[in-house]
Symmetry: D2
Subunit: 407 residues, 4 copies
């Protein structure tokens, strides 16, 4: 059973079903309305220090160094890369969507040598190839493996547990970095268990806040390697950030309102319970997938074991332009779903199902999609997807492939 708590206290619906920024509950919007304070006063220390502690459980870590940069989530990539690696370092990265591709491009710009593993879009993370590449790296030149935990383009979740097992199998000492921007606080993440060395998240997805925070956690191993890294950095200096926040300060003007919001967001996540949050996302997501099947459409993600619980990318029939659907649905009904990106542009749309979302809200999105598709001549039976999702939602079950929840 999913917890009722989320249903009841989260519901104020902004009609966007994009994979982030998400719908922001009133409670968080109010929290972010706080007035500015003197960030050089003890009042600020009382804000920032508990926040950094409170983030650790969400990362699934007991001892990570957590930090919050006043920039969007993707900026966190740069912070991690530029603080933990040096120009000329070699990294291993699969490319299976727009966001993994962007991170690869960022690494190129920072002078890294990137070993790219290109995958078909829709496939999961190529564990076997990662293992093979690491095994072949006899000189241990690969400094880090960089994985997009949740590829928003395709609705694919990377199996980081398997990646870790592959790395262990080769006894390769490379660090493991994860982009969890569109998964953290929505999908179970176990930094300690999977021994992830750097994790990047943002405020505008599972945390249900406005964009503007890059939220990062580093393992002790990563911290120990940091001083040797030699890329240029200043605004993104992790050493400066950790030194300042350790004493309740901040290296420059802090994003006070977003920090107020994050405090409240953590309180909401704790009140619902992280396990319930993950189960709610799983339940809602599986209902969406059952609706897609009822419509006779296909998910971009091929393997059920790697379905994302925060976003589903859906192929439109081959003779349709998905962009038309996005435009029509927004214009005719005032509701948005995400557009297809990169090579999936025009071929797919994306249903975001994360953050402050309930089953009744999701059914609104599915029902509206049905009308919009039929308006454009898709061979859809009205109510069919809704009924499939309702059937799943009534039972409140998790998907068969859901990650088993931590106790």
């Amino acid at each position: 059973m999913i917890s009722d708590l989320g249903e009841v206290y989260m519901s104020a619906q902004n009609p966007i079903f994009i994979p982030g920024p998400t719908n922001t509950p009133d409670r968080l919007r109010q929290a972010m309305q706080g007035q500015n304070i003197d960030h050089r006063s003890p009042e600020f220390a009382d804000l920032i220090i508990p926040l950094l502690d409170g983030l650790r459980p969400v990362f699934g870590s007991s001892d990570a160094a957590t930090m919050i940069f006043p920039a969007t989530g993707t900026a966190g990539w740069e912070a991690v890369v530029s603080n933990l690696l040096s120009a000329g370092d070699r990294v291993l990265m699969p490319r299976y969507g727009v966001f993994s591709a962007r991170w690869i491009e960022l690494c190129h710009r920072h002078g890294l040598l990137v070993d790219v593993i290109d995958c078909a879009w829709g496939d999961g993370v190529p564990v076997a190839q990662i293992e093979a590449r690491l095994a072949a790296d006899h000189q241990r030149r690969i400094k880090a493996v960089l994985i997009t935990h949740n590829e928003t383009t395709t609705g694919v979740r990377a199996d980081l547990e398997a990646v870790r097992a592959a790395m262990d199998a080769t006894s390769h000492p490379a660090m493991l970095f994860a982009d969890a921007v569109s998964s953290l606080a929505s999908i179970d993440f176990r930094m300690d268990e999977w021994r992830v060395d750097a994790v990047v998240a943002g405020s505008q997805k599972g945390f249900m806040l406005n964009p503007g925070l890059a939220i990062i956690a580093l393992s002790q191993k990563a911290l120990a390697q940091m001083p040797a890294a030699g890329l240029y950095r200043s605004f993104f200096s992790i050493a400066d950030m950790l030194a300042a926040t350790r004493d309740g300060g901040y290296p420059y003007t802090p994003p006070t309102q977003l920090l107020y919001g994050l405090r409240e967001s953590l309180a909401m996540l704790q009140a619902e319970g992280l396990a319930n949050v993950y189960a709610r996302h799983d339940n809602i997501a599986e209902g969406v997938r059952k609706a897609v099947a009822a419509w006779g459409l296909s998910l971009v993600a091929r393997d059920p074991s790697c379905y994302s619980n925060t976003v589903s990318a859906v192929y439109v029939p081959a003779d349709r332009d998905a962009a038309r659907l996005n435009q029509h649905m927004a214009a005719a009904y005032g509701v948005s779903v995400g557009v297809g990106l990169g090579q999936l542009q025009g071929k797919s749309f994306r249903i975001g199902h994360l953050g402050a979302l309930t089953r009744p809200m999701m059914l609104s999105g599915l029902a509206t999609l049905e009308m919009a598709m039929l308006d454009l001549g898709y061979p859809i039976e009205l109510g069919s997807g809704v009924a499939a999702a309702q059937t799943h939602y009534r039972e409140g079950d998790q998907s068969p492939n859901s990650t088993p929840l931590a106790a």
Copy 2:
């Protein structure tokens, strides 16, 4: 076609589908956040005077005296009755639901002699009987006919045009009063055309605001009769209210934040266009009625020509307790519909469909109702009502029995 404007700019869903208070759009919630001002300054005059003018078109009048009492909508009944009538006066009132019954009780308490016409709940306003009673009143002792324009208990809209025709047919000089609390600003109202002498509305229904305002319009005929009325009144003195607001003042502390909200509400209604507002309500309501039919359930309202476009009362199967459905739906899914009232308690639930409401929002309510009904063993097919509503919504048409809109 319904206007897109309403869909796009109203959408932030509070999961209540009760017949008021309604969902309050962000824009209005922000407007009601304004700080207090000195209500004895010219700033207040600039607020109140245009408001009173701006209300007239919503009442369908060009010359009514409009006023706003800082109390809930039902208090408006008392203001109208106690200012326009005197103890011992005779009035004619049909009783066909809880709200008409309450107004009758109020008239009793104020010492009026009430000729009650009792109707079966679910029937429309008894035009023929009204005509008969007036025709029989040879001494013209009936001072006023009091009609509940929209009986929220049963989802019945009174045909005021027919009532006026009946009154005219008898050449009876009685005044005509209407309780339009749950209809004004949602359903076409034509005060001048129907020659209604007193109309009462509230802030928390079609105006989409917080409760707290009784909004009243009086015809010139009513105003002329006012001085002769002799019931006790002080807080509700219309004479005091009109005298004070004429010069931009207020007889006591004004409800400034609600007035800010009303200013913005009028701006929203004007932006969408009243005809579009009425058409949107009609379209959404007809979709709900089609869903009810698809479920095999019956409306309390019997005659399609008097269906209300703001609320639908629905009978549950005879072997069910409707109250259980209300409780279960709120507890399991966090969504509320209205309970059955009075003799319909336990026998019906009520779907509110008024105010800041869009088709995607309404589909969310219908889909959730389906799940809740099936949970309780109702013989409902998931998606059936949703599909019926979707079919109607896609076409964007008005109901066959909708009041033709004024040009």
Copy 3:
């Protein structure tokens, strides 16, 4: 010249120093933003019942019946009078300002026989005359003594303890009613100790909320007398209100958002502590009075023992028009003080110092008043009143005549 626009529209401190409505803190404004709920659900019971209990300490009572009408504070007068008295009843009322005069007028309209004791404006409550009138009422025909606890016109606080003593001295059984709209939650009130039978307050003064609630407490003695009272009442029926709220309901649409606000207001008052709230008002008020003395101006209130801690009425020099000062101060500096009322119009202005107010905020008002007075040629030395207030504020003391606080 600098632009006035910036002054007027930028002030995050709400620049009003009127005796209510007061400045509303962010925390309360946010609380009043809550969405509408189904007021027929258990959620509403959980809101209203603790509120009615939480109000009692603010009234200084352990067993009063508390109730909240959705109307402005002054409507509470009517509720009390029309529920506890009958047409033809005799009441005793001093008149010493606009608000006591208005309450007298209301009693007249309700058919009461009012024994008026006219006092010079600026004098305190005429205890000796009240005692004499009661003593002379051998037939015990006076049903109630009605006192304006805080006469906002003159800045005079009535000594209810002395009134009670006078009533006791005559062993007269009359009830004692108090209008505490502009004092409750700002000035110590002891309903039980003073045996007050009916107290009326509002949301927009000491409770720091928007206008819209009449907050009432009745003694058990008053409740016992209620059924015999026979004035017309419907919206203001206390019997209906008590019957409905006893079970967590409400007799009509409740003012949900204001109730949310009141819950938060009570939490703020409790967090600061009522004794601290009263001491803060006393401290700020005494600073204002010292500033007035430093300016060489006179208070309307004559006797220090009856100075009000929520408002000070100040005479302008005889050759000045106080209204000009109000207008100029608002136009030139964007800051409002209250206007003189009734016979004091043009002769006095009023400084409100109640609610969400701090010493730094009050100093802003005093400093601005100094500029505005000098602009108009008042013989004022800039900084003189500010310095007098600062001296008092630095010490944080209470005024010599402050009511000793309850332990």
Copy 4:
């Protein structure tokens, strides 16, 4: 003693007089509350494109390329430096406070060769030395002169007109960069007239918003030089940013709520008129300076021609610890002024007087400072500084040294 709690948590005026983040007006706080939108929809283009155009007048430019990075103001330094310069490039920078020192440190970290001109803190920008250094740079190796337009540490405004004249006098081709974070939108800035090539501002000062935006303008000359620059950049890539926003997009998740706020902030600045905004800041600032003089204290800034109109740094008497004053004022009165920074720590405090500020608000801060200083035994006469400021404020004049306003 009155309770401090009330003072601290009730203040609707945000009681901070720090040099930013500033007090945020309700209107902007509401604007920043908007829900998230689909940033890949045309709705986003309609937001971003007019914003970039609307910023130009605030920079004093008709053709600058404007851009907005989702990071704090100081991050703008890095964007400018890393996009317009290459490692090994030589730059000329005066150091006369903490913020110019930090910018220098950032340049060092990016591998630039920095010619530092060290000045006494409190002095203005060293125009003669800049000219001399440029004149001596026969090989034209200095690529840019970097100036902190408003050194918040000392309350000194740099005379950029004079810097430009010095550069012209040497016919040196170096670019001119300015950090205007704490001056833009408060103090007249003339990018085109002074031929500044890169200007950096932030959202949380003159724009009165939450922190979170680095707002940048580049001259056409700077744009033309950009492609040649070779520092690492990704998140801060100006080429990516300009390419994306040109078509109404954004290179990553945009800070939508802050953009809504900025749109409203520009509307407020336009409504008041930039010339009036500057005059208001000048008037308020000069009143503060007169208060400081009346107290017998000294400004850190030595030359009246370089007084800052957004912040005044004030020396405390030599036997006092300024930090004590900051702490006491916050603890006893709930009002903050800025602390002394760097070598001025403990020796000075800083009064911020910028953004959404009025004369009455400033007087509140000055009056509170007087109490706090006297509490700590400073030889201050209560009311003295207030009176000096009031005298200036009543006249509404500009300071004798104010920059003459553009027509």
